[in-house]
């Protein structure tokens, strides 16, 4: 039986999560990676997406708005400016934010402004994805 990973998700506002997990799956800026116990030390930049982690065969999710992931020994630390667990996400707000950003994007011509709205869209998408993954899991469990 391999050891467990101690996953920490930290933002400037609070410690979002501190938990023993079996594995962590995250999307780095160049692709997805999975961290199992006794991983080699690694530091990677994360993209705006969902981090999935397994606790006793059960998968949970957190929306991460970019950041850094460091694995060292069996400590996995995610440092991000903003991070939310799937249970905390306000779905209605994320939908609204997405719609608003998409509407704004069509009106913007400046490259920088388009980029900013695209970032907003991807943040909203990451949140929605975390929620959706959670719902799918729950649905699967019920049936």
């Amino acid at each position: 039986m391999p050891g467990k990973l101690n996953l920490k998700i930290i933002t400037p506002e609070r410690i979002v999560l501190q938990k023993e997990v079996d594995q962590v799956v995250a999307r780095a800026i160049d692709g997805e990676l999975c961290i199992l116990p006794d991983h080699e030390p690694i530091v990677t930049a994360l993209s705006i997406d969902v981090v999935r982690y397994d606790v006793a065969g059960d998968e949970d999710h957190a929306a991460i708005m970019g950041g850094v992931l460091e694995a060292k020994g069996n400590e996995v630390t995610v440092l991000s400016d903003v991070a939310e667990l799937d249970v905390e996400i306000d779905v209605a707000r994320a939908h609204q934010a997405k719609a608003k950003a998409e509407a704004e994007k069509t009106q913007k011509t400046d490259k920088l402004e388009v980029y900013i709205t695209e970032m907003a869209i991807s943040r909203a998408i990451a949140r929605l994805k975390a929620v959706e993954l959670r719902q799918r899991r729950r649905g699967g469990r019920q049936s």
Partner: protein, 293 residues
């Protein structure tokens, strides 16, 4: 009696002052709680970022870091000091402590033959250093009472720019570390270049850290900006919490002093009143005696 009137007026004025200091204490007390929470909540993140960056810089060969201007070390000739002080006064020795420490540091650096310049935060620091012949790169004033990441970003980016362009070779940060409501401590942080942890004996067979995709990208896009932003952000938070705590203590002392003063004055006033009444009685009795005789 003129004296009585003067004392009465004095009591009134002290009472008015006390009302103000009491109100200021309450306001500071209400704000400090929030500032304290935010400061403490931000700390784990900042310490992690600093630790991570130091470990990486220590464990990587220098050649890999060469392309990152922010980590570039060069002989230190010109030093900039960021002075984090308050916008407002009436907070005890909070500001003057910072200034005294800054002046000491400036003298020390100048003795070592370094060129010193300043980056000032807070109206009070601008007012204090106005008459000093030191280069001031930038001044930031009227920050909100509870600092946000935006201000930190602005200060951090502009300071980093000075460093990258070679205007300065090192940046130090003088600010206040918040310990508790009654204690805060002056700290002098070496902000740039990134300070290395004390050299440790490397364990044999220590696995090399992998970087995905490359060390440059990880550091340049994520870790370094986070580092410079959060060191400043944390200092701003610490400073605001310390300032409010200092103001709360100063105002609480002031209110107590005012109360003491009022008590003493009331005593003097009553004595004087009693004396004047006795005096008048004596005069009346004396007059009556004189008439009867």
């Amino acid at each position: 009696m003129a004296n009585l009137k003067a004392i009465r007026r004095r009591i009134k004025s002290v009472q008015a002052t006390q009302k103000i200091t009491r109100a200021m204490r309450l306001v500071a007390a209400a704000k400090v709680r929030r500032a304290q929470q935010r400061t403490l909540a931000a700390r784990p993140f900042t310490t992690r970022v600093i630790k991570m960056l130091r470990e990486i810089v220590r464990d990587t060969a220098e050649i890999d870091l060469q392309e990152l201007p922010l980590l570039h070390r060069r002989p230190i000739k010109k030093v900039a000091i960021i002075v984090l002080a308050a916008d407002r006064g009436l907070c005890g020795s909070y500001n003057s402590n910072i200034f005294r420490h800054t002046l000491e540091r400036v003298q020390q650096l100048e003795k070592d033959g370094k060129e010193v310049s300043l980056i000032l935060v807070g109206l009070k620091s601008v007012a204090f250093f106005r008459h000093f012949k030191l280069t001031k790169h930038r001044t930031y004033t009227l920050l909100p009472a509870v600092p946000t990441v935006e201000e930190a970003k602005l200060i951090a980016m502009q300071t980093a720019e000075l460093y990258v362009k070679g205007v300065v070779d090192a940046v130090e940060l003088i600010s206040t570390h918040f310990i508790s409501l009654l204690r805060s401590e002056l700290v002098n942080t070496k902000f740039l270049p990134v300070e290395l942890p004390p050299p440790e004996v490397h364990e044999a067979l220590q696995p090399q850290i992998l970087f995905e995709p490359t060390i440059q990208e990880v550091l340049e896009l994520q870790l370094l900006p986070k580092y410079i932003e959060n060191v400043i952000f944390q200092s701003l938070l610490d400073a605001s919490a310390s300032e409010l705590a200092a103001r709360m203590n100063a105002m609480s002392n002031a209110s107590t002093n005012a109360q003491e003063l009022i008590n003493t004055l009331t005593l003097v006033y009553n004595k004087a009143r009693q004396a004047s009444i006795t005096q008048e009685l004596l005069e009346v009795v004396g007059g009556a005696e004189a008439l009867r005789a």
